[in-house]
Structure formats: C-alpha cells, structure tokens
C-alpha cells in the first residue's frame, strides 16, 4: 500500500483533476455575492449588538450609580431646634453626604457647570436673577446599594425641601432597554447566519445535482465521503470567505458613521477611538471603531468560511448517504 503523503501533498493532490469540476459545480459569482450581502447585514446587526452592549454597560455602571441632590435656598443658614447655625443648607447637606456609607465622590456643581446644564433653556448668560438650588452629585462605589428614600428623609431633616433623584432607576430602565436591543441584535445575527446556512446548503445541493455523474463515478472508484465532502467544503469555505471579506469592507464605512453618531451616548465606553477621516485606508478606518466592533468585523469573513465549510460538509455527507 502506498505511504500516506503529507498534508501539503494531499492538499495539492486534491486540487488536481478528479472530475468534480467544482468551479462549475459551485460558480464563483453568486455565492460570494449573497454571502457579502449577508455579511453586511450581519455587520450592521453586530454593530447594534455591540452598541447596545456598550450603552448597557455605561448606563448600568455609570449614570446608574449616581444620585442627584437638589438643595433649594442653598446659602440660607440651617436651623437646629429653632437655633440658627453657622452652616449653610448646602454645606450641611454636603457634610452629611460625605459621611454616607458607599459614597465614592460628592461633587457640587459650580456656577459654570450649572450654566452649561441650563444653557439649552436659559442661554449662555450665567448671571441668573433667580437663586438657583444647589445641585450635588453623589457617586456611589460600584456594587453599593443606596436607599434613596431614607437618604432623602435624612437630608430633609437637615435642609427641608431637599430632593434626592435616584438616577439608578432610569439607568436600570435604560440598561434593560439596551439589554433588549442587544438580544434583538444577536437574534438578527442568528437569523442571518441561519439564512446563510440554508443558502449554502441549497447551493451545495445544486452543485451536487450538477455533478452527480462524476461524484457517483469517483465514489464507485473508492473516494471516501470525507474526500468528496472535503473537496466541496474547501471550495464553499473559500467562496464564503471572499464574500464575507467583501461584505466586511462594504460595511466598514457604515459602521464608522454609526459609531460617530453613537459616540456621545457611549462617552464613557472603553478604548476611545480616534476620529475617522474618509480618506484613510481601510485598516486605519477600522482602528476608529470601538475595539469590540472592530474585532467582530474582522471575525466576519472567517466565520462565514466556517459556516460554509460546516454546512457543506453536512450537506454533502447527507447526500452521499443515498449512495451505497
């Protein structure tokens, strides 16, 4: 019996003429085109999933861990048991907050910050005629549970009329929304992958039908199921890889644009990306995307090839079961 040749030799032998004529069985136009279209859809869905994930993290861990305290008449001295003290209402509240368990940072917005906050309604002029309440941000350490109602009662006792707004409530709602969007995006990716499987299986079956005679002949000569399936699977994987690569390149500018639009909502997201310039080459444009999105985009072509390879292997092996 002949000695079993090495992997490279076997690969080269597989490329030689064995009558399967895979270039005709699986033409190099339609499949890459369809896979490219699906890769664009998958890239958009993955962008949605990544964006939702970033927003979910941001809203759950960022704004959600902060409480906003509003102290009216901040400069008025406080009174204790009917006696006026030397502390203003805002200072008294700040002092009380500094002792709060789990507080990581207490910050009173200064005049400029208040002005920036109110600018959309009151313009850029920061000389307000009305006395504004003091706005204090209370940042809690990660994982700290805060009883906002109890805190509001405690602060109202020190400075009556003080309001505590629990951002976490909104943060949790937004986080849940972002999680839902994330799940929907992943579902969309799964649907696109499912369609890809169906499409590749149908294309492979058409190729098998077109090359039935040579397949039956080399099967009768002793070609194993693995050999025939491997020949088809390598061809499909190559075409799917080309389609996936083309789709990724097509999707890149759209994703850069989307990430630009979404940037303000994910300001606290990890790895801030450099600004995109449309004259940049593709690999530099890729670097402007958030790292998770760039990684998923890079993984699209290999994933398409893997789906193509696995689907074709399964389809051809199932088809060959009809032969003895």
């Amino acid at each position: 019996m002949a000695e079993r040749p090495g992997l490279l030799t076997r690969w080269n032998q597989a490329r030689r003429a064995d009558g399967l004529a895979l270039r005709r069985a699986l033409p190099d136009r339609l499949l890459p085109l369809l896979v490219a279209a699906m890769a664009v859809l998958a890239a958009l869905a993955l962008a949605g999933a990544t964006g939702a994930q970033i927003l979910s993290t941001r809203w759950s861990n960022g704004a959600a861990s902060m409480l906003t305290i509003q102290v009216p008449d901040p400069e008025t001295p406080t009174t204790t048991a009917g006696t006026t003290t030397h502390l203003t209402r805002s200072d008294a509240v700040l002092a009380a907050l500094a002792d709060s368990p789990g507080a990581s940072r207490v910050h009173r917005l200064d005049k400029a910050e208040l002005g920036a906050l109110l600018a959309p309604w009151l313009g850029q002029d920061h000389d307000f005629a009305l006395t504004l309440p003091a706005i204090i941000e209370l940042h809690m350490a990660a994982g700290t549970q805060t009883d906002a109602t109890a805190l509001a009662r405690r602060l109202a006792a020190i400075a009556p009329g003080t309001l505590v707004e629990r951002n976490a409530e909104w943060g949790e709602r937004l986080g849940r929304l972002a999680d839902s969007l994330h799940s929907c995006a992943l579902l969309a990716v799964a649907i696109v992958a499912g369609i890809a499987v169906v499409l590749i299986a149908a294309t492979t079956r058409a190729g098998l039908a077109a090359r039935r005679l040579p397949i039956e002949l080399i099967h009768a000569m002793g070609a194993t199921d693995g050999y025939i399936a491997g020949r088809f699977a390598r061809r499909t994987a190559l075409l799917a890889f080309i389609g996936g690569l083309a789709g990724s390149v097509l999707a890149l500018p759209i994703l850069v644009l989307l990430s630009r639009v979404a940037a303000p909502f994910a300001a606290a997201a990890p790895a801030p990306a450099p600004a995109a310039d449309w004259t940049m080459p593709a690999h530099m444009l890729l670097a402007t995307l958030p790292t998770p999105l760039a990684a998923t985009l890079l993984a699209l072509a290999p994933a398409a090839a893997l789906i193509g390879w696995l689907t074709t292997q399964a389809t051809v092996r199932a088809w060959l079961r009809n032969l003895p």
């Binding site: 002949a2 040749p5 076997r10 030689r16 064995d18 009768a220 002793g222």
Partner: protein
C-alpha cells in the same frame, strides 16, 4: 475471492413494486479465478456486476468481496474495498470534461499515489492500448473503440484485486479484443479475480473458461 450465498436484489429495495433483478444467487470465485458471465439481455448480468462492484447492496443473502462481508462493512471500509476493484462499464462512463490522461489517472490519484508514478503508469498503459498520442484528447473527441480502450485502461491501471467487465469488447476489433483477453489472462495469472459479461460467442470459444449463466435473475449454470 468472492462468495455469494442466496443473494437477491431488487432495485426498489423499500417497496415491492420493482421487479426482482436477482434471486437466490450462490457461487464462489477463488482469487485469480476467471469467469464468463453469460445470459440474454435482462438476465441480471449488469445487476450482478453492480453488486460485485459495491455500487448496490443485496436486498437478501450474504455477499463477501475480497474477504470482507459487505453487509457488515462500514462506509470507509467499503470505500477501501472499491479502490481494489476495477470496472469496465458497458457505456464506458468516462468523464467528458477530463482529458484521457486524467480519466485514466483517477484510480491512482484516489489512492494518493505520487504524481510522478501516476504520469509513468498512465503513459505506459496509454501506449499499451495504442492511445499514446491521444492523452490530451477529451472522450467526446474519441471513437467508440478508443473510448472503450480508455475505460479498460482506467479499470486495470491500479492492478485491481477484482476486475469486472461488462461487454468489454463490443466496440473493439478482433485484434484488440484478443489483446484484451491476453491481458485479462495475464492479470488472472497474477492473482486478479475476473468476471466478464459478454454475448460474444466467438470470444468465449477462443478463450474457454468457467461460465456462470444467468436467466431471469437466476443462476442456471456454474461450470
């Protein structure tokens, strides 16, 4: 060797509508044995050759090919067995897209033989069948006789342990037919088991050998 015990075969194995092609066929052929397979059209010769070539499975009985029981063999084992079988089909079954050279090289390439060996072996047998100058031609460019010689070359190039031929001389002239029979005799002497289905009485008279005669799917004579 090959051994059949009460082998039956029906094309529509799942149902009962198809006619029975073979009934209770039993015979043995030892290693290196030569058998003529005789009988009128529709007697079951081609069906029997299909079973022996492992391109169909018996619907009843037991079949042993080259020492392996077909019913119990796994798919990979059947593929290995098929690589030890050569078949000359009545309709040649050449691949029209491939040049003559690649058609003949197929069995060697499926055995992962080195390409240098493949080249030497194919050119050698092309010279033997008188088609040394037609290596790059495609089957549709060949005459019927030339196509049959390509089919014969493809069937024997890997020195099969079992050679099955269905009317292998019907497109050959007498000289070529005699050369082919001389080759079969030589291969048989080297240990190849050979079954040849034919209607060519003159050939049978020139090369007398053990005969298996079929009629209506039954084995009438084994001797």
């Amino acid at each position: 060797m090959i051994r059949l015990r009460d082998v039956g075969f029906r094309y529509d194995a799942a149902g009962t509508s198809a006619p029975v092609a073979l009934r209770q066929i039993s015979f043995e052929v030892p290693q290196g044995g030569f058998r003529w397979l005789l009988g009128p059209s529709g007697a079951g010769k081609s069906s029997l050759l299909r079973l022996l070539a492992l391109t169909a499975r018996p619907t009843s009985g037991t079949l042993e090919i080259l020492g392996s029981s077909v019913a119990q063999a796994r798919r990979a084992a059947l593929a290995r067995l098929r690589r030890r079988i050569g078949v000359v089909h009545q309709d040649f079954r050449l691949l029209p897209d491939l040049p003559v050279f690649d058609n003949i090289a197929l069995p060697l390439r499926l055995q992962h033989r080195p390409e240098d060996d493949v080249r030497d072996e194919v050119h050698s047998i092309l010279d033997w069948v008188g088609l040394g100058s037609r290596a790059t031609a495609r089957p549709p460019q060949l005459s019927g006789g030339e196509q049959q010689r390509v089919a014969i070359a493809r069937a024997v190039i890997h020195r099969p342990a079992l050679l099955l031929a269905d009317e292998p001389t019907n497109a050959l002239d007498e000289y070529q037919a005699n050369r082919l029979m001389d080759l079969f005799r030589d291969l048989s002497g080297l240990g190849t088991t050979i079954l040849v289905a034919t209607h060519n009485d003159a050939l049978i008279r020139r090369y007398p050998a053990h005969e298996l005669e079929l009629a209506q799917g039954r084995l009438l004579r084994d001797g």
